[in-house]
Amino acid sequence: MMTVTANSVFIDNQPVELNGEVNLLTLVRKVGVELPTFCYHSELSIYGACRMCVVEIEGRGIVAACSTPPTPGMRILTNSPRVQRVRRTVLELLLANHERECTTCEKNGNCKLQDLANRFGVRKIRFGERDMKLPIDDSSASIVRDPNKCILCGDCVRMCSEVQGIGILNFANRGSKVQVTPAFNKKMAEVECVNCGQCSAVCPTGALVVKSQVNQAWKALADPSKVVVAQVAPAVRVALGEEFGMEAGQIVTGKVVGALKRLGFDKVFDTCIAADLTIMEETTELIERLEKGIEGPLFTSCCPAWVKYAEHNGSNLLKNLSTCRSPQQMFGSLVKRYWAKELGKEPKDIYVISIMPCTAKKFEAARPEFTVDGVPDVDLVLTTQELSQMIRESGLDFAAVDPDSFDMPFGFTTGAGVIFGASGGVAEAALRAAYEMVTGEVLEQVNFESIRGFAGLKEATVNLNGKEVKVAVVHGLGNAKELLNKLNSGEAKYDFVEVMACPGGCISGAGQPQAVDMNTKKARARGIYHADKLSQLRKSQDNPVVAKFYEKWLQRPNSHEAHETLHTSYSTRARITGEDIELLNSDREHKVDLAVCLGTCCYTKGSYDTLQEFIRQAERNGIKEQLNLHATFCLEGCENSPSVRVNDQIYGGITAERVGTFIQEKVLPELERNKE
């Protein structure tokens, strides 16, 4: 029994010494009472909405433990009749309004609501059924959103805005009509969602789940006309075991390969070799930029969520984004372009299935630029979770599967390729290569500890032949956003920046087994670096198979062939999707197309007045009948707004006052020209 001091509180009549706990929830959990909650996450702000963690405090009544700081002398009851009533009522209320088709739900067996209903023995619901059926949004390549299963805990909302700095999800409406939705009830695919899937990683129910493509995989495996090839990303091998009762971070590479083969894959390859290839290309790109003295840092491009983020958020950022395809896409491209030939097959006869920790990879594989003559380089992306589903479905006892090794030629990798799975890994691998490429000396100490771990911003400075090269590593797009702001303001300056969208890097991808506490993430990261340490070779440039690829197929890094096969280009996605609004429609033979931008930038600078002025002046000039006038959304001339487009030409800075002159100088001549 503990003694009572001035710094004690009483939890269920037991004295407990306070030790700087910030809220009752952590305090109560520390003494071995598991308070239930839906909306408390240590990495998100305190929200206090689900009311499951309530406790009773003598003299104060019922409070939410998550948002109440302990004060000495407090007498806390964690299981009083009043507490029980609130919890039970909350659960019943949630269940009443929940679409309870548990048996066919993606989250069956892995759902917090199901779990707590079971724990509290809710067997009867005193209230009515859910009375509305909202449409399911499966527009996204990665995520399926079913609002009928949403309990409005707001975890996804806070994840997307607080951690990822994006905020595509938020609450709308009032009362029982409240919904979590993208703005204006748009679909996920229509907004600036980057498919990172972190929303689904924190969703306690089946409201946000990763889009399952397991059936397509089975279909391909059953198709005798296809050579089905697997590529396995580095982060998968330190997490899949968790699904089968193994410890987080345990390296199960051999078992993954063995299991995939028993599932019927013809070849099982390692994405890490493509990671080595990425390092060769990207480091060469970096060195070239350093030599040419090109302004601004080179950003990595391995993370498809980050790439999409960049496309949405910075047209001036895109020129600094490495043109390297991600390892997944380099792999697909090599397999379909070269390896298929060696096999005597057409690209369409090879079916590439990636096993990824990532949901955004599904979107990446579907990008049109990675499809050649109707054949995608990567046919299908399965997450770690989906693979575990297939293994379970097949009845394989994963723990008992005989380990196997990757097939050649895409089976030989270095430690540098493996560490791609943790935040900082790409930058570290690139530094290992850059040092040797620039100095010509052998790098003895290959570990760059300062850019490992979970700090929001990690930095390293490396001396390359007398030039100090500054490297930054960020993970979580919120951190990336902050860094970009610093770069834009000139407060920070770097030569090379690694960005991973998920906090902690790919090991924390939304496709990984869902147990995302910090300890799990750390254990997975340890697994990754351990695998690196065990590798015979630790530098991408030492990979003999990669060297062979260059010799056979690609000549040298950044060669024309390499560019065709391993690089890509980007285009801005700043434009809001949606139709133009037609204001004047001319049926004349000679007419001019005129569009005024009503995007945010232009609108705030008065483009609405510009639009109205155009209508007035068109009337005054008697050309109203000859105009096709549209209101449009973002002409991407944000720096010089308001923007106006006349036929194909975009003009900036057209304020209402300038409309008169503009019509004289640009519109009327254009009309004249049409007549000629």
Partner: protein
């Protein structure tokens, strides 16, 4: 003109006060929202035209020029007796004309200029006794009130700062800036015992002190004018009728807590209040009573207006702050309290309109004098919006500790049409019922809480025997469900389910087991909700179950509505004794539910009957019974 010192304030106050004295007569036309809606602006124009037509000297502004005398016509703030609007008050004499139309202008001006007595048909006539009252202060509705917060409403022109200054306005601000330290001010407010008028009744001075001692370079003062209860309009009347009093209270608070910026959060549905506040802020800035270096003391204070978008929950302080910040108006857990981390994370003092309007009085008269009215634990007065089935409805101000009996029977003039009193719903959707047994209880924050009600925003709805308390509770639950922000589960889902059960009851589909479930759910929602809205949302239900449980049971078990309100539970039958078989009822019945033979009693087929009630009004013999 700039008032840059206390001396100038005093001189100008005196000069302008003397300006009043030159008037031979003053006609005040109520320009509160209620009277404006009833056409008071046309009355104002008609009176102006009439006076001009008669070549009487008239100024539409307050002050007459040097050496002149004559009649002034001004637009005033709300008198509170909104039911009787448009209201016109004559000074001197304090004569109140009610229900004035523009066609009455000639008579009013004639009587005034020719020194005849008041126009009798425009005077208030007691609905029960028939007595006629000429002077406003003698009318029972006003006689039992103590108007301090509302003292200027209906008496001065709210759009002219000089009138406020002439009445001693901004003296309290001058006093604190020159004579008191911020700590002194907080202490004075603590000593006064003033409690937050927004509903909760938290000691105002303690809030001030907490904000004052909170560390931070930047602090804010926020005025909560998001009055959203159905039927409540106390804050609106103060903002419309005496806006400078609110500004002065806020400036004093700014000095006391160390803030240089204030926000007034006011509903966009109060356009007149917004406009009057904007005018008031502009005038105060021009005179230097807001802005930089106020009264030459170095104290800076600016006030901005933020219009709310009509969410009831934004009356909750943390939701209100989120809304000012441009976020969705959703409450967040406390702590941290706004005094520690409020608007944009800065220490913030947030009080209700009426609370700020009390402040100048507290400072001018001192805590001791303030404590003389009201009760020991709830000093001062409280404004209420008195509505429902009483003879006189409107805005009232009474000392705390007044009995319900005085409000209903003295001020309210008793129930209309000789009906029997049933209950008073106090505090709107957050409050509860008071019944016959509470008639002589002294009303204040604590006594109300002890019986499961609360002052809330101050709505008082009087009901009579014809009110169905189940339907009444359903009405409020429907309101809270629609206005719940949806953040926490008990409020969002719990109000939905309570509403569902109440709806079932009035629809005649109630289930006996609902009685227990409803009560249990109401208690859980009260305990478990995140903010005040949710915690108080079950109050109307709980108080209905406490005082009128038999009515609810009658609905769900016996399928009967004792008050005869819930249509679904009504049944019609023809009393064969009284029925003469005239067939009128069967001819008006739209669904052919009534059949019979001429000169013999008719019958109603209850299966076909849609309970429209057409037969009842058609029967010349009152043979058709409801219930």
């Amino acid at each position: 003109m700039k008032i840059d010192s206390r001396e100038t304030l005093n001189t100008m106050g005196k000069t302008w006060k003397e300006g009043f004295a030159k008037e031979t007569a003053r006609i005040l036309v109520c320009a509160g929202t209620g009277c404006v809606a009833n056409g008071s602006l046309q009355v104002y124009e008609a009176l102006k035209a009439e006076v001009q037509r008669r070549n009487a000297y008239v100024s539409v502004e307050m002050l007459l020029e040097e050496g002149q005398s004559g009649t002034t016509i001004v637009k005033s703030g709300c008198h509170g007796f909104c039911e009787m609007g448009p209201l016109v008050r004559l000074e001197p004499g304090g004569i109140l004309y009610i229900k004035v139309s523009k066609d009455d202008a000639t008579d009013i001006v004639t009587a005034l200029l020719e020194g005849k007595g008041p126009v009798e048909r425009l005077l208030y006539k007691h609905p029960v006794t028939g007595e006629i009252y000429a002077e406003e202060s003698n009318i029972p509705f006003y006689k039992h009130q103590t108007r301090t917060v509302l003292q200027h409403c209906g008496v001065i022109d709210p759009e002219d700062i000089r009138e406020y200054i002439a009445e001693g306005g901004y003296q309290a601000l001058a006093k604190v800036l020159h004579e008191m330290s911020p700590a002194d001010v907080c202490q004075e407010v603590i000593d006064s015992g003033l409690r937050g008028r927004g509903g909760g009744g938290f000691p105002t001075g303690r809030k001030w002190e907490a904000t004052r001692i909170s560390e931070g370079e930047k602090k804010y003062v926020v005025c909560n004018g998001d009055e959203g209860d159905p039927g409540a309009f106390m804050d609106r009347s103060v903002m419309e009728g005496d806006p400078h009093k609110v500004l002065e209270g806020m400036a004093i608070a700014g000095y006391a807590v160390g803030a240089d910026e204030g926000y007034i959060y006011v509903r966009a549905e109060y356009p007149l209040a917004v406009q009057r506040l904007e005018t008031a802020i502009k005038q105060a800035l021009e005179m230097g009573l807001l802005g930089e270096n106020i009264l030459g003391t170095g104290f800076n204070f600016r006030i901005k207006i933020k219009e709310g978008a009509g969410a009831f929950v934004c009356g909750e302080e943390t939701a209100l702050l989120a809304s000012i910040e441009g976020e969705r108006g959703m409450p967040r857990p406390k702590p941290p309290f706004p005094a520690q981390s409020g608007l944009w994370g800065k220490p913030t003092l947030i009080n209700n309109v009426e609370t700020f309007a009390n402040v100048p009085k507290v400072i001018n008269d001192g805590a001791k004098v303030f404590r003389k009215s009201g009760t020991a634990k709830s000093p001062g007065t409280k404004t209420f919006a008195l509505t429902g089935q009483v003879a006189n409805t409107g805005l009232i101000e009474v000392p705390m500790g007044i009995t319900l009996r005085d409000i209903v029977y003295e001020i309210g003039g008793g129930l209309r049409n000789g009906k029997r009193f049933k209950a008073v719903q106090i505090g709107g959707p957050s409050g509860g019922c008071l019944t016959e047994q509470h008639m002589d209880m002294e009303l204040d924050f604590d006594s109300l809480l002890s019986v499961g009600a609360m002052i809330g925003s101050g709505g008082l709805v009087v009901t009579n025997e014809d009110t169905c308390m189940v339907e009444f509770a359903r009405y409020f639950m429907n309101f809270t469900q629609n206005e719940s922000c949806g953040k926490c589960v008990p409020c969002r889902e719990g109000t939905k389910r309570m509403l569902e059960m109440l709806q079932r009851a009035v629809d005649g589909e109630g289930r006996p087991e609902d009685v227990e479930i409803l009560e249990d759910l109401a208690e859980a929602v009260k305990d478990g909700s995140l903010c005040g809205l949710g915690k108080t949302a079950p109050n109307p239900v709980l108080s209905m179950l406490k005082y009128f449980k038999d009515e609810y049971v009658a609905h769900v078990v016996d399928k009967r509505c004792p008050a005869g309100v819930c249509k679904a539970l009504l049944g019609y039958s023809i009393d064969p004794e009284s029925c003469k078989g005239c067939s009128k009822c069967s001819r008006v019945c739209p669904v052919g539910a009534i059949t019979g033979e001429i000169k013999k009693p008719y019958r109603i087929d209850s299966e076909k009957c849609i309970k429209c009630g057409a037969c009842v009004s058609s029967c010349p013999f009152k043979a058709i019974k409801e219930g």
